[in-house]
Amino acid sequence: MSEKKKIGFYWTGSCGGCQVSILDIDEMLLDVAEQAEIVFWPCAMDPKYEDVKAMDENEIDIMFINGAIRLDENKEMVELLREKTKEVVSYGSCACNGGVFGLGNLSSKDELLEKGYTNKTTDQGPFPQKITEVEEGELELAEMLDHIKPLDEHIDVEYYLPGCPPLPTQLEDALPALLDDEIEVEERDLITDKSVCDPCPMEREEKEIERLIPIQEATDIDPDECLLDQGILCMGPATAGMCEAPCTEVGHPCVGCNGPVKGVEDQGSRMASALASVMGIEGEENKTEEEVMETMNSVRDPTGSFYMFSLPSSIMQFRRDDIDE
Amino acid sequence: MSLIDLTSMAEPDEEEQEKIEETLEGLKEDIPDLCYQCGKCTSGCEAFILLELEPHSIMGKSKAGFIDELVNSDEIWTCMQCFKCQERCPQDLSPVRVIFALKNLAVAAGKEIPSGYQKMLQSVLGNGLIQQPKEVLNRANETRKREDLDLPPVPEPEDMDKVQQILMKATQEKLR
């Protein structure tokens, strides 16, 4: 029997859901422990920066990294882990596509700090300082980066496993394949070719959407009919379908957390152009400009809707006037 | 515009024309530009035979911009407000509303307006109604007042002065 693989899990800017998703594989964790040795897992163990630094190059076989790279400390740490790891898995939507945090790219760093600290409605706490003097000495805070970029723009990544968080089933499928050298896994093999529509059980018609209705204003939703057909913006058609459509199945539109299907670069623009093609298509040749605008304006918060999880990996990446390079 | 009316040497006044359009847009009505002068409005106009009101020609002149002529005319004050022209217009236009807008322009410009309307306006400003309760006659030529007929007093704002003030200011306002 070959030597046990050494694996690790690391989180950067994150809600923690991805880490919980690892625990969610339940007993399988024991199987994993049999096949692999978990050498690094800040969530469960207490490794120090110095310990990692002391590791040999490529000492870790597989490193799962989730979360957004929001701080310089995140960046420094993932760069260090890259040195020590053979294969890095970009785990979860934040690492793969920037995730919800990526919507921060619509504001500049200063605006974000101002909103978060100076102009907040609750207590006016102290504005974060790089260095703070305390009795014990100086405390140094990590610096916020200007923008969020997906993990693969900071370091090379071998595999992508998106999801917010990835479902236990996804990890259960992925882990054995990654741990077994016999099985060949391509970079994006853990993402499906098909979209959420494929597993989605709702009845679909040809799309003739007159205008979109915000879900909270929609009344009389037919539980069996495609939400998009009913005028509710569902990102299903442009979203990778590894999740097996649990949201639409219970009547909630897909918000696009898995990011684009395999082979598609920009989830939001795909969805926007698809929707633009079918919206108001009935009698469109005779529509006045006002009527067309009315249809268009029914798309509320287009960026937030189309790019809720993938703005940093899109071709837009961030607000144009904020490009500082 | 390049039109000149050779009978009066008047030129179209686009500014005044826009004012009509503004008012009509405030009422969500179509502007007169789309009128194709079929004359259906005038064919059925209640005021044409007696008072020579020609809604189609008002539409035509408004469309061309000869607003001054209309605002100064007596014609606009002959409309019986029966709304037949609007109802029957095959182009979904409303001559009667164009006429209202013209009358508003005339008032705003301080033109002399017919005494009946003048009186009505003053009465509304004075006590809220277009006229005061009257003593009327019955068929036997006897006079009757509200009180005689067991009718309650006519409604009137408690603070008429205040309403008056608000009304005075309101008459200076425009729809848009």
Binding site: - | E156, I166, L167
Partner: protein, 295 residues
């Protein structure tokens, strides 16, 4: 019991007392409680000619008074009804104008929301109360009479402003008359104007219009003419003599508010319906008591 704000406008409470009396007498019999709007003023419609904004303001003010009481509004005058409807629809479509008007109403502690439903006599009787209910209350059907209907322009036009009846082929008044036994039929001049709106400045023309309509109805052999509009009634009844003089014909056509006819058919004491105030020869009709009898 349905409560309705009774909004009389200008002409009814200052001279068309017969309409007001019969309304106050008849409607409560149909379980309708009429609530007076003490602070009300002119609806503003006559001022459309002078300043459209003031028109909207006055309409909104009167509706706001009714809203304050939390009840729907009944305007027996079609001109008021049209003015109020127009204001209601305009303000709904134009929130900016609504805000502007509300800022003025605030000075009187009023607020216009747009929640009041509007009724006119025609739809109130025909659609709300209903023909069956009316038929139930008829005691003496007026079987021997044939009347023509006069709707009044603003009752039916313009139809884009939700009128009580169809603009080209209104039939509700006919159906109401038939319900109380009166025979009726269409006549070519049915939709013609009474001239009332220009009486103040074009007296003679207005009276000619009225006279011609009365003459046409009379010539076609109708026993009388039924109205639901105070302006029309004023021209066709109150001023029938002057109209006759103006066109040089002798006119003696009984003209009655429909609601007066209804009251008579219901057996209500005729003096309570203000019938003495109809100046046209209504006592030519067998069913109508002459003034002497009434006394």
């Amino acid at each position: 019991m349905k409560e309705l704000g009774l909004y009389l406008g200008c002409v009814i409470p200052t001279e068309q007392y017969g309409y007001e009396m019969s309304i106050r007498e008849v409607l409560p019999k149909f379980d309708i409680e009429l609530v007076d709007l003490e602070e009300s003023t002119c609806c503003g419609a006559p001022l459309r000619n002078v300043n459209m904004f003031t028109t909207m303001y006055l309409s909104a003010r009167n509706m706001a008074l009714c809203e304050k009481k939390g009840i729907d509004l009944y305007a027996p005058c079609p001109i008021c009804h049209l003015g109020l409807t127009e204001a209601k629809e305009s303000l709904e479509e134009n929130p900016e104008l609504k805000d502007k008007i509300n800022s003025k109403l605030e000075e009187e502690d009023l607020q216009y929301e747009g929640s009041t439903e509007l009724y006119h006599t025609l739809d109130l009787l025909h659609d709300e109360i209903g023909l069956d209910e009316i038929e139930d209350q008829v005691e003496e059907p007026l079987d021997d009479l044939t009347f023509a209907a006069h709707y009044g322009c603003n009752t039916i036009r313009p139809n884009d402003l939700d009128r009580p009846d169809d603009s080209e082929n209104p039939q509700k008044l006919e159906e109401l008359m038939e319900t109380i036994g009166i025979g009726t039929e269409d006549y070519p001049e049915k939709l013609d104007c009474c001239g009332g709106q220009v009486i103040s400045d074009h007296n003679e023309s207005a009276l000619t219009k009225a006279g011609e309509k009365i003459e046409a109805v009379q010539d076609q052999g109708f026993d009388g003419l039924s109205t639901i509009c105070p302006w029309g009634h004023r021209m066709l009844d109150s001023k029938q003599d002057s109209a006759a003089d103006t066109i040089g014909e002798s006119l003696d056509l009984p003209v009655m508010y429909y609601i007066q006819l209804l009251g008579v058919a219901m057996g209500i004491e005729q003096s309570r319906l203000g019938l003495e105030l109809n100046l046209s020869p209504v006592d030519n009709l067998e069913a109508i008591e002459s003034i002497e009898e009434a006394e």
